[in-house]
Assembly symmetry: C2
Homo-oligomer: 540 residues x 2
Amino acid sequence: MADMEVMNMVSSGSYRPNFNLLLLILLQLGLKLYTVGGMWPLPQTFTSSTERYPLNPQTFYFGYGGQSAAQQGCSVLDAAFKRYFSLIFPDYISASVVLRFNEDKLFTLEITVDHNDCDSYPNEDSSEKYNMNVSARHASLHAETVWGALRGLETFSQLVYQDDFGAYFINRTEIEDFPRFPFRGILLDTSRHYLPVQAILKTLDAMAYSKFNVFHWHIVDDPSFPYQSRTFPDLSSKGAFHPMTHVYTQSDVRRVISYARLRGIRVLPEFDTPGHTKSWGKGQPDLLTPCYKGGIPSGTFGPVNPVLPSTYRFMAGLFKEVSSVFPDSYIHLGGDEVDFSCWRSNPDIRAFMKKMGFGDFTKLEAFYIENIVNITNALKKTSIVWQDVFDYHERRSSLSVVEVWREGCYLCEVRRVVKAGLKVILASPWYLDKPGPTHNWSRYYNVWPLAFTGTEEQKKLVIGGEVCMWGEYVDSTNLNQRLWPRASAAAERLWSDEKETSNVEKALPRLQDFRCKLLRRGIQAEPLYIGYCRHEYQGV
Amino acid sequence: MADMEVMNMVSSGSYRPNFNLLLLILLQLGLKLYTVGGMWPLPQTFTSSTERYPLNPQTFYFGYGGQSAAQQGCSVLDAAFKRYFSLIFPDYISASVVLRFNEDKLFTLEITVDHNDCDSYPNEDSSEKYNMNVSARHASLHAETVWGALRGLETFSQLVYQDDFGAYFINRTEIEDFPRFPFRGILLDTSRHYLPVQAILKTLDAMAYSKFNVFHWHIVDDPSFPYQSRTFPDLSSKGAFHPMTHVYTQSDVRRVISYARLRGIRVLPEFDTPGHTKSWGKGQPDLLTPCYKGGIPSGTFGPVNPVLPSTYRFMAGLFKEVSSVFPDSYIHLGGDEVDFSCWRSNPDIRAFMKKMGFGDFTKLEAFYIENIVNITNALKKTSIVWQDVFDYHERRSSLSVVEVWREGCYLCEVRRVVKAGLKVILASPWYLDKPGPTHNWSRYYNVWPLAFTGTEEQKKLVIGGEVCMWGEYVDSTNLNQRLWPRASAAAERLWSDEKETSNVEKALPRLQDFRCKLLRRGIQAEPLYIGYCRHEYQGV
């Protein structure tokens, strides 16, 4: 608390001698002074005062606290300091030439973390808690992990604002913050349209601004197979839209994972089977079920063929590779929307059903998924499945995490899943592929994920939620506009205290302000309604 | 026809000795040869053959025909040659260093125009007709005006395609082309959101690619007044979102008009009154009607005050300036959606009504508009009004052009207007501010502007149509995605032969191809559905 004493000795007037004069001119011009902008998502608890301190890019620096387990050389934080310097001082041209001409006027943001987890990956148990204290010349940020420190840096960057002359300020603030849910994801679909790696990286940047922490990579599906597999290169060379330009190489994937890690974001790969696999069939013969018509093969193919041993050998090989390429302990197995008509048409499938005593096709699907779950369990991965699998499955105890996506009473489904003792990720209310204004931000804000009857224990099984951006009508031309700022509405629901953030009217000006911040950071976030930002998007 | 003889002597094999070898490799790689892409909008008549000629940026040049009325130094065409060189050869890095190492292999695109209108502005009577003949080493483009030549250059650029190795080709083609309607516009709304000048210029570029020829600039409205007037500077200094950054200076406006002219696009300004004028009131005291509540002024304001002589003095001054700033002979006076409740509340207005013997407020509105039309008539401008004015007006003979915008049976309204002998611009079916997929391109394609009962003479009064991009939810972050390629669907309806372009399924692949061309040209056109472009949008 020594800093507090220092703070009282320094007035903004003495710091910038001409400030009062400038203020006078400012008022005569009739311009409004910019005040502190809103934070998004709202921290759990904070107090801020109108007492403000000037910040100067020439005399601002990040430092590690003496007690910090991480020190200079910590990859995650060193990179974050560089990134956040530019975000805090958007007008500052060169961050490399820092002239510290007067030691008296230094402003230090001092970070202390309890664990040196600089070289690890964020995971489902990572603490993202932090607390922060901003006073004159000094701010201290404390977190258990580097991931928590990243969240605090983001909040700090949102506290800084500029006046009309471009001078930077921050108000005296105290914050204690932590996420409501540990899983806050965004799904991108790179099969219906290929997204250039740059578009994914940009999304990771924007995710960090809203404190999202999981990138759910729905990497392959019916239309294309862009994942370039080491073990099965034909999958992409024959199944991608283009074998050279529309693929994710191993190096691309590593780049995405590394970029995400530096922002505290997990990369959760989904290889959805047995449905949604048309593109797989091009590069992997005999994988898909041949459909029959009039007693003979029709030439078309259905879901993965669950009756051939070769199918499971292939899947074991693929998931072995995928498990080593993607470090996260979770893996998404899909399992949604399996069309039984092709299985039904196929005599080999019917014979297998008879042999196994499966009365209907949901049993066959459960049999298939059970095998895949066993494969990934053996690889020490926690599997996530779409709700369809839970709905059909009898041996639910083999499942771990269920993602609820269907419309209707989705909380009824959430309740059923947690009653079965399984974890839930809620996606239903956050399908953002449909555009505004019919699907505007308030629809995604007015979601109450725990508004079902259940015990505290059961509610804890709701580990979070996910924004889904399916790719039928979305590619790199319109991804950012469709995600932002609407995804931020979901982000606040998943991070902040529901009681403090349940009023749409109260949230609107703060979200508008945050959307302007996104524009300033180069994210093409679309407007909420009539109005303007001080710095409009110019990158046309 | 001397060129035809030359063409028969040159085979693509002799031109590129290694071509057959390359072709062999190509086929062995299993890659598809790219064939000629679709043109959009479809020319009125064309024949093309599979006979193709290589094009080489090093040996390609534009030239003026000996009989051409325009020669080197023609601003419009000289600038167009530069622009289209880059569009025709998108991979070519530097157009300035052209090495013409072998005169034998030159390919010339020779332009001949009948009129030297290089320094004029396009107008409502400008011919856009052209014909073009592409043969080996030579293409000839003939047009009556430079504006027609621009349309032909656009078509030529769409005929050129690349194979997988980046080599350029064009097929033997003959085209005779002209627009179905002379007025093919896009409305941008710069009041609900400010659009940076760059965003407007980019839209003008994209408009030219779809052969649009009118930029309807809905420059001011209720939320903001960004037009910086010489005569009344307070209008923008008090009425714009920001007096410095969110305004169009005289120089900005000149730049837009000049940029549009070089692309054969007219700039039609709209200063909408007497409604939609809230922002005007901030910089022009006594312009708006004070609303009353309980017998006293409520402090709010309604439409322009039509009973004060000062109103008409102000309007005469403003329109005098606007008429000199915008060279087009058309001016849009608005006149839509006037709310009578404020007029009704005001005792001065009611007294005036009584004095004039006006039974209802439509009479007052007609009186107001009549005065404004007289002002612009005296300035030698043809006025356009929204349909509301036509609907209320009794002395319709003073009107010239009516823009039909309301939903419902818009062709019924079109019929009423042409029966009254007035010209029509159709906008109703082309409101593109609502996004896809609910409002997808086919909705804008399946429009039949002349499908009403009327004489040939009456149908000629339908001078064209207009895409409206209102700004409630649109600014520079999402303008391009929302316009393209959906506006192109309207463009084809307004340019091409309806009989040849009435099938959505037939048009789809050509539009998909055109959308990929737009991406290649840096226009963020959104996808129509699942699929890909060879060159995806990378500018994230």
